[in-house]
Symmetry: C3
Subunit: 152 residues, 3 copies
């Protein structure tokens, strides 16, 4: 088995691919906060009294455009953050490079598509469901491999 020294080095194409997609997905996730802010200002929907721009405004929690972006953001927390943890451990199991790189690509691309069809331009189902399940399936597969590598 390769040692962690080689596995966690950018000369390992599997780790390099993981590093790339984590970076991309972190930026994508952090942009969700800005997308929420854009919707808040557009619809004048603020959740805290100290955020109100004018004394005529009141706090508001039910704007559908703001809530849509927040649901997409929460879905990222539920799915992308566990991928970060399991992806690193999956790299340390020294998987087949071809398979691992394509799994990382599948998660990365499908989570970007998920955001686009959920929170940027609303596309009818099953587009969001498909994007969701591609990433979920890839992450569950990695988690099972990780559990198996440690179970015996």
């Amino acid at each position: 088995m390769a040692s962690p020294v080689e596995l966690l080095s950018l000369t390992n194409p599997v780790f390099k691919s993981f590093v790339f997609w984590v970076g991309v997905l972190v930026i994508k996730m952090l942009l969700m906060s800005l997308l929420t802010a854009v919707q808040r200002f557009k619809t004048k929907t603020f959740a805290n009294p100290e955020d109100l721009m004018s004394p005529k405004l009141k706090v508001k929690f039910d704007d559908p455009n703001v809530e849509r972006v927040r649901r997409a953001h929460r879905n990222d927390l539920e799915n992308i953050l566990p991928f970060f943890a399991i992806g690193l451990l999956y790299v340390l199991t020294n998987p087949s490079a071809w398979l691992a790189i394509n799994l990382f690509r599948a998660v990365g691309i499908s989570r970007i598509v998920h955001t686009l069809v959920y929170a940027v331009v609303v596309v009818p189902q099953p587009s969001r469901a498909l994007a969701f399940f591609v990433a979920l399936g890839a992450t569950v597969y990695m988690a099972l491999q990780v559990v198996l590598s440690a179970a015996f």
Copy 2:
């Protein structure tokens, strides 16, 4: 001190135990999405217009069964995800194997119990509180050890 090469290898029983429980808890967390979906279909509670299965339905946000699963899921985000980060760093502090493995077991088992008594079969308190505090206590202990190892 052992080097990161040995600490992050599956021949280190502490790392092996961490890897096992991260894999199990990632799968557990991802199943929460499916459990939410089951409750949404059962109670016909959908949060997006594009998800409505029939033109007679309207978006709905207050079904108690759906919201219960979502609260359990959010509690996972708040507690399991920080454990993933601190657990890895704790492994790198080269802790006592016996203690570390039992802390990981305590977190893993108590978070599974937390989900069962919160979102699967509702069990009266203090069952959920106990499960919550066992995992919280173990994670805070690891975090304190990690801070101490880096503070001096």
Copy 3:
């Protein structure tokens, strides 16, 4: 390039600083649950029927003090957890020690300030916005460096 052995060792001041701030921020995040609990008991606002302390109480979801702490906590999930993932990969890119240590400090201190001005003593804007954007900017910078290190 330094090897992962040296980079992930506490003799590397960059890694040592990262480890310290992850530990501090994990403890800070976990305390948010206790702060929420304090507000729940103070205002008798419980989200689950099995949590009600007296048969006269009903579940309640809209107490502003409870919801304020929960928003601060969610903001931590959205910003601190991605920092944990990207910070570790950033350490592995062998960055300038001075820059990296100050970026970790900036994230750590600004996220503590964010909690204080949001959920402990409400301070008028732009204090919370400033704290938010310092941590966001530092995290996005690290993510861009990580993507660049893996893109070529």
